[in-house]
Structure formats: C-alpha cells, structure tokens
C-alpha cells in the first residue's frame, strides 16, 4: 500500500516537474536556446507570489493573476533587450548570458529576501484530501496542481500546433530568414516565446512556493529537474516532457520509500538509465 501511495504521490509531483520543464522545452524548440536561469526564474516567481500575498493578504493561489502576467512581461523584455542579441551560430553566448542571469537573480533575491527558507500557506485546501478506494489518500491541492499541469501542457500543445502564434513559432524555428520574408519579425516572435515560457514558469513558481519551502539558492536544482524531464521525454515533445516529469517524480518517491536519503539520487539514476537506453529520450521530435 505504501508503495502504491508513493507512486501516486510521485505522479502528482511529476506534474510539477513537467511545469518546470515545459517552458524550457518550448524555448529550446523555438530558438535552440538553453536558459540556464530557468530554475532561478521559477524561484523568482515564488518570491513574487510571496510578496504579493503579504502585500495584498490574499491566498497564494490568487497571486497567479499577478505573477503570471508579470513573468510574461519580464520574459518578453528580457528576450528583446538581451537574449536576442546573443543568438547566432555560436551556442556559447546565450549559455554564458543566462548563466550570468542566474547568478544575478540568486544574489538579488538573497539581498532582498535573505537566505531564510520561506513557504506560502494556501489555507484549508492544503490539508483537504480525497479518500480513494484501497485506503489511498490523495491531497486535493496536489491533485489540483496536477490537473493544472496537464491543462497547461495541453494548452501549450494546442498553441504550438493549432494557433497562428504556434505556426509562427514553428516557421521561425524551421527557417528564420524565410519566416522573416513572410512578415514575421523573429525578434518579436522570440519575445513572445520567452513570454509564454516565463508565464508557465510563473505558474510553476507559485505551485512550488505552496508545496514546499524555498530559498534563493534552489533554482539550479529545479533547472536540473526540468532538464531531466525534457531529456527523458525527448526533445520537442510536450507530452513526452509530461511523461518525463512523471517518471522523475515516481522514481524520486520510490527512492525515498526505500531510503529517505535516496530521493534525488533515484531520480538521477532513472534519468541516466533512460539516457543509456534511449540517448535521444523516449519520444523525441527534434533531431
């Protein structure tokens, strides 16, 4: 029973990892950019939510209304102001610049919020749980978060393959010059992609800050989880990323079940096994 419980909790945790990963996957797909500061943006979003709840006295879940658009604007401005200038044939400049951003965000947060761990309290919903058949108890909040993750992935999938914006993303990703001939300004399209990526990061950050305690230093760890989920699932496949997140979450929880100290290790081992068996991930879409 404990095992089944561990697996169920792992699946729900995997939803959060998929949220960590989705934005990473999106911008890699559109502009082949690896955002080293991605995890720090998640933490930044969590602190933004923290400040919003304490300023307005609202439930942290409601801060999504503010955090998500603010993160999207930050994404657009960052892309147009900084990251577009680093894109080119050389893949090193964007890595270096986003690495620098990571350091800046961490130190900025440390300066403002100190190194103390923080956590947001979402009220009664945090303790509510559903009794499932077979003596299984599932928290309502993790379930809601998982539902939101699935909806976000489905939404991104729709945007990417069914909307005019997604058509622009794919066209620019295929052939930047020719897309420009079609009247698409790639600088703007990239800005929109980063805005969407950081909007998802906004959701991930709020959820992170409600589920667990956080401090300015945990960004790189979230980046790793996001990376692993993307790679396990296969590059360029959003549902693959969801499955990657779930595999990671389940492995971590099974590891923790065996020995609490093995949680992270078990996740990394699962990642390495997938990489060894299928180096391009389980369901790759990008060559």
């Amino acid at each position: 029973m404990e095992w089944i419980n561990a697996i169920v909790q792992g699946v729900l945790l995997g939803g959060l990892y998929a949220l960590f990963a989705a934005g990473l996957s999106l911008i890699f797909g559109v502009m082949r950019l690896v955002n080293i500061a991605h995890g720090d943006f998640i933490v930044l979003a969590a602190f933004l939510a923290l400040s919003t709840t304490s300023a307005l006295g609202v439930n942290p879940l409601l801060t999504l209304v503010i955090v998500v658009p603010v993160m999207a604007v930050i994404g657009y401005v960052l892309q147009r102001g900084v990251l577009n200038q680093t894109l080119g044939d050389d893949i090193l400049p964007p890595l270096l610049v986003t690495f620098g951003l990571s350091v800046i965000i961490q130190n900025g947060l440390l300066e403002i919020y100190s190194a103390d761990p923080q956590k947001m309290n979402a009220g009664a919903i945090e303790t509510a749980s559903l009794a499932l058949p077979g003596n299984l108890n599932v928290g309502v909040l993790p379930l809601v978060m998982f539902g939101v993750s699935v909806a976000v992935i489905a939404g991104l999938q729709w945007v990417f393959y069914r909307s005019a914006l997604g058509r622009a993303f794919r066209a620019v990703s295929d052939k930047q010059d020719i897309a420009q001939l079609m009247g698409l300004n790639k600088a703007h399209v990239f800005g929109l992609a980063m805005a969407l990526s950081l909007a998802v990061v906004g959701i991930a950050g709020v959820f992170l800050g409600i589920r667990t305690s956080f401090d300015p230093s945990i960004g790189p760890g979230r980046l790793i989880f996001g990376f692993e989920a993307v790679i396990i699932g296969g590059l360029g496949n959003l549902w693959g990323t969801m499955i990657g997140g779930i595999i990671l979450g389940v492995s971590q929880n099974i590891g923790a079940q065996i020995n609490p100290g093995w949680q992270l290790l078990a996740g990394h081992i699962a990642f390495l096994i997938v990489l060894a068996v299928k180096p391009r991930g389980l369901f790759p879409r990008i060559d």
Partner: protein, 234 residues
C-alpha cells in the same frame, strides 16, 4: 519614362570581406516583367536578398515607390508589397501545405489572392493540403512556394530560379501559369539560368556577371551574341 516601381542605386553587397555586388542599378516599372540572367555565382540571389531585406544595405540603395527601403528588415519589406519565391523553394518543413500557404498570407494585405484561389491555380495542392510540405514532389513544393508568395498579394514578386532541379515537363507547366499570375497587374522579376525560358516571359532583361550588370535590353532586341558575351564574359 514613368517613375520606376522599384530601383536599385549603386547597390553593393558583401558577405564578410567578400564583395558580391558592385554598383548594381536596375529599374522595374509597374506591371513590368523583367528577367535577370547570369551564370552560377553571378550574384542574382544576392541581388534578390538585398531587395527583400535579407541583406541590409544603405537606405537609399533600394527605393520602392520613391521610398528608401534598403535598410528595412525583411518583414518590413514584405509589408510594403514585395514577395519572393526563394531559390530552392525553402518551405517550412514543420508546417503542412495549407499552413505554408496561410503563413504567406498572414501579413494581411488585401487583394485577390486567398487560399481557394491558390487551390484553383494548383488543384493538386488542395488534395494534399493536410500533408507535411516535405511529403510533396519537387514540382508540387514549387507550387506551394509560388502560392505562399502570392498569398501576400504582392505588387512585386521575385522568382529566384523556379525551374531549378525540376523536370522539363514540370517547368513547362509552371511557366504556363506564370502569365496568368502576373496578368493581375503584378510586376515580376524572374531570375533564371535558362536564358530562353527567361526571354519568353520577360519584356526586358538584365544580364549579370561577377556582381555587375553586364547587359541590359529589351528581350526582342538583344542578339544571341550580345547575350552570350554578357553571360560568359567572352
């Protein structure tokens, strides 16, 4: 002589240290079809890339309707009403046939061309509208590339070697529809290595050689000798 629709003025172009165009002057008048011929590496594609904004120039080196457009980005040039069928077709491989066409029309210029009209011009594309563009034959891909350019309802359309790599019978059928397309009051530039093909549709010809215009004249007035001298530099 009426004002030209598009002109280049002493247009130079560079790839790094390498200079590919040297003081190119050409004019295209409204409703006119011109051909640009020249051997491999003469600079024809470079000229097209300069006009469409894929290569940046000094503003006054390219003028369109008396406005300097030489320094505009390609997306801005596209909005002014210039479209290109690029060399090698260059379809978006992640997009279906229909999406490739739609994306050509998304700048939203008004005019006769829309999806159904492209499908009437090339009925086979309607049948294959949902397949990835990579699943088409070369000739069908060229139809998509032409349709994609038309979808923006351009005033000036540039065709860069539309016969490249296609079977003669396909080339023939594509050249058969060209007059219909251009008949709608559009101006056109046809870049070709096949001199006879180019002369058959264009009123005027420019010949390029090593980045320079080596000959200019009316298609029906130039002699074979003049053309081969300008083409091969003999």
């Amino acid at each position: 002589m009426p004002e030209a629709l598009l002109s280049t003025h002493g247009l130079n172009a560079h790839y790094g240290d390498f200079q590919a165009l040297f003081g190119v002057d050409i004019n295209i008048h409204a409703g006119e079809v011109i051909a640009i011929i020249g051997a491999n590496g003469a600079g024809k594609t470079t000229l097209m890339r300069s006009i469409t904004g894929l290569l940046a120039n000094r503003p006054d080196m390219v003028t369109y309707r008396n406005t300097p457009i030489g320094a505009l980005r390609a997306d801005q040039v596209a909005r002014t009403g210039i479209a290109m069928v690029p060399e090698g077709r260059q379809l978006f491989q992640s997009l279906s046939v229909e999406e490739n066409l739609i994306i050509g029309g998304q700048i939203g210029r008004k005019g006769p061309w829309e999806l159904e009209k492209v499908f009437r011009l090339f009925p086979i594309l309607k049948e294959r509208r949902a397949v990835p563009s990579t699943a088409l034959s070369g000739g069908q891909q060229q139809m998509v590339a032409i349709g994609r350019a038309l979808m923006s309802n351009p005033e000036l359309i540039l065709f860069d070697e539309i016969s490249l790599g296609l079977a003669p019978i396909i080339i023939k059928s594509i050249y058969e529809v060209l007059p219909d397309i251009i008949g709608e009051g559009m101006s056109a530039v046809i870049v070709e290595q096949d001199i006879a093909k180019a002369l058959s549709v264009a009123g005027r010809v420019y010949c390029m050689q090593e980045g320079r215009i080596s000959l200019e004249g009316r298609s029906n007035e130039l002699t074979r000798e003049q053309i081969s001298a300008a083409y091969f530099g003999v």
